[in-house]
């Protein structure tokens, strides 16, 4: 079966222009050789610190920006270099859920106009037909259909996020890109939206690219997880494997930094020194070596390849077979 999305060696380099003539003096390698696939009904999460390239990757896939190189096979067709007009028919099949439910809905439009707009744009001009579909979508995201003619200000953050999801689902997409969809919500509401996404995916067979920084949320929603560091995937594995047996020192440090909601489990953490490397001037060799506690001289010069260490588990580390890494241990009763 062809995956819904197959990204191969994706690169996005932003030129740095300096001086009056705007000469290109370097490049920010925001995304540098990223490859992954997402099947129907599957959620792949992209995680990493700010500036690691996870949002740029998702924007390339949606073709909000043009990638520098690489292939983006969407349902088997390469869309990486398609022109605007050739992209249009594909756009309805890939939709986005935004982070901020307050700025992503037009305050001057009613809910039925917001959710109905993609339908109207794609030729559903009959009002009755369109309203019926809007009502169906509202039911799908568990909002009362009676709210159809209200404006966004009447809704709470969680309800707005449901409206955003309904809009994304209006045209029966096969791929949803969700960039931090729950990070702006309160804890009690966050749980409702996480569950809704899981339910909708199981029902509609959606492929979801989930971009997030909260590893606890990621664990609840994903089938597989890709960890990014300075534009590259450093580890990709099924969720359970990644959390139980991480094979990259960066993944180990990320997992260790997540606070566990149990005061009896105050563990000694691996505190990473310094900040994320500058993507316009990344360190030589392995990008992570200046912050890695296992780094040797070899890591400073040799760029590690992404190697499959077990079926479906790929790691970009020269020393992965030599080091024993800690993981998230289950609670002891």
């Amino acid at each position: 079966m062809t995956p819904v999305l197959d990204v191969r060696s994706l690169r996005k380099h932003f030129p740095i222009r300096t001086g009056m003539l705007g000469r290109v003096s370097g490049h920010v390698k925001a995304v540098d050789d990223v490859s992954f696939t997402i099947d129907r009904g599957e959620t792949l999460s992209l995680v990493g610190e700010s500036g690691c390239g996870k949002t740029t990757t998702s924007r390339c896939i949606l073709r909000a920006i043009a990638p520098t190189a690489g292939e983006i096979l969407f349902q088997g067709n390469d869309i990486a270099q398609l022109q605007r007009k050739d992209l249009r028919p594909l756009r309805r099949q890939m939709q986005m859920i935004f982070q901020d439910p307050f700025s992503s809905l037009n305050p001057r439009m009613t809910i039925s106009e917001i959710i109905g707009e993609p339908l109207l744009v794609n030729g559903m001009t009959n009002n009755a037909e369109r309203n019926a579909r809007v009502a169906e979508l509202l039911t799908l995201v568990q909002l009362p259909t009676a709210y159809m003619n209200r404006f966004p200000h009447a809704f709470s953050g969680g309800q707005r996020q449901r409206i955003g999801i309904a809009r994304a689902l209006a045209l029966h997409p096969s791929l949803i890109v969700a960039d931090e969809p729950v990070s702006a919500l309160d804890v009690s509401v966050q749980a409702q939206i996480v569950n809704l996404l899981i339910e909708l995916q199981d029902r509609l067979g959606l492929a979801i690219l989930f971009v997030a920084h909260d590893l606890s949320v990621v664990k609840h929603v994903s089938h597989r997880v890709a960890v990014m560091y300075v534009g590259r995937i450093v580890e990709l594995a099924p969720t359970r494997t990644l959390f139980a047996t991480p094979r990259h020192p960066y993944t180990e440090a990320l997992l260790s930094a997540v606070p566990v909601p149990d005061p009896r489990r105050r563990a000694s953490r691996i505190v990473l020194e310094g900040d994320v490397a500058d993507p316009s001037n990344p360190p030589t060799g392995c990008h992570f070596h200046p912050r890695c506690r296992y780094a040797t001289d070899r890591c400073k010069v040799e760029t590690p390849p992404l190697v499959e260490v077990a079926p479906g588990h790929a790691v970009r580390c020269l020393r992965t077979d030599e080091i024993a890494l800690g993981s998230v241990t289950p609670p002891q009763n």
Binding site: E49, S50, S156, G157, G158, Q159, D186, V187, S188, V189, Q190, A191, Q192, V194, N195, I198, H213, D214, L215, S216, V217, K219, H220, V221, S222, H223, P238, T239, R240, F243, A253, L254, L255, S256, A257, V258, P259, V260, P261, D262, P263, R264, R265, R266, R269, V271, L272, D275, V276, V328, P330, P331
Partner: protein, 334 residues
Amino acid sequence: MADPILSVRDLHTHFFADEGVVRAVDGTSFDLFAGQTLGIVGESGCGKSVTARSILRIVDRPGRIVSGEILLRRADGSVTDMVKLPADSREARAIRGGEIGLVFQEPMSSLSAFHTIGNQLIEAIRLHASLSKKQARARAIELLAMVGIPRPEQRVDAYSFELSGGLRQRVMVALALAGEPRILIADEPTTALDVTTQAQILELIRSLQRERDLAVILITHDMGVIAEMADDVVVMYLGKEVEKGPVDAIFHAPNHPYTRALLRSIPSILAEPREKLATIAGSIPHPFARPNGCPFHPRCSETLPGVCDTQVPATVQIGERQAAACHLLSGKTA
């Protein structure tokens, strides 16, 4: 146990808007001890930030403290009620930034983009100590080194936008410490940061607390951060303190239905992949549409009709140090 350094007693801070009165803080009491961390946790609109701002007397209009006491035990042993001090008095200003330091959530918007971080630090230092500019600059470099900023002699002349988010938050901590406070209030100090940077900042607060016997009030919505840092916890909902107690009791023997529901609904890194979360029905009410009786009753799974929707629950003491405000605990039935 020693005397508390700060005692808040039945604090009420309300906002008088044209549309009505928002009871942002509606009866909060707690004690803070030197060397200890008090965590105040709750969702948006619960009044946790307004509590902090009330303590510092920096509540913006149309808000004001309606009643209650904020008793600050001074270094000389005397007790000052912050509520009785005029907010802009010399004494209140000396306490703000002097005895009580504050770390805000947004390091980008809380630091000036027009002054070097050194100048901002020097200003804060000289407000609370009579030092020459040169001495203050040396002290600023010392503070930057103390909060773990590499090459402080050079960074002292940097602007905030030249620093990363983590370094900026370290500068915020240095600023809060400039007046040698005995109390540090940190309002969502790590919310805008990556997990790895969050771990660094929490570790920094912990080590500074150990060195200087600081009393810390940590305000956050993140139960993970609370579990990691707090000695005592106050759980707030819609301006009400619903439960408080030692951190272990809050997490392992919670008494209030809201505390229990909140703990069940947080995503955990220990969960099974694709595991659904327990949810709390509904959403946080609008501040002008506050429910009668117990503020949590419309979302509570154990609500008693005729009781919870009409009467405000009293705070019930459970054991020596834990208390919760719930009708179920006072033995009421429907």
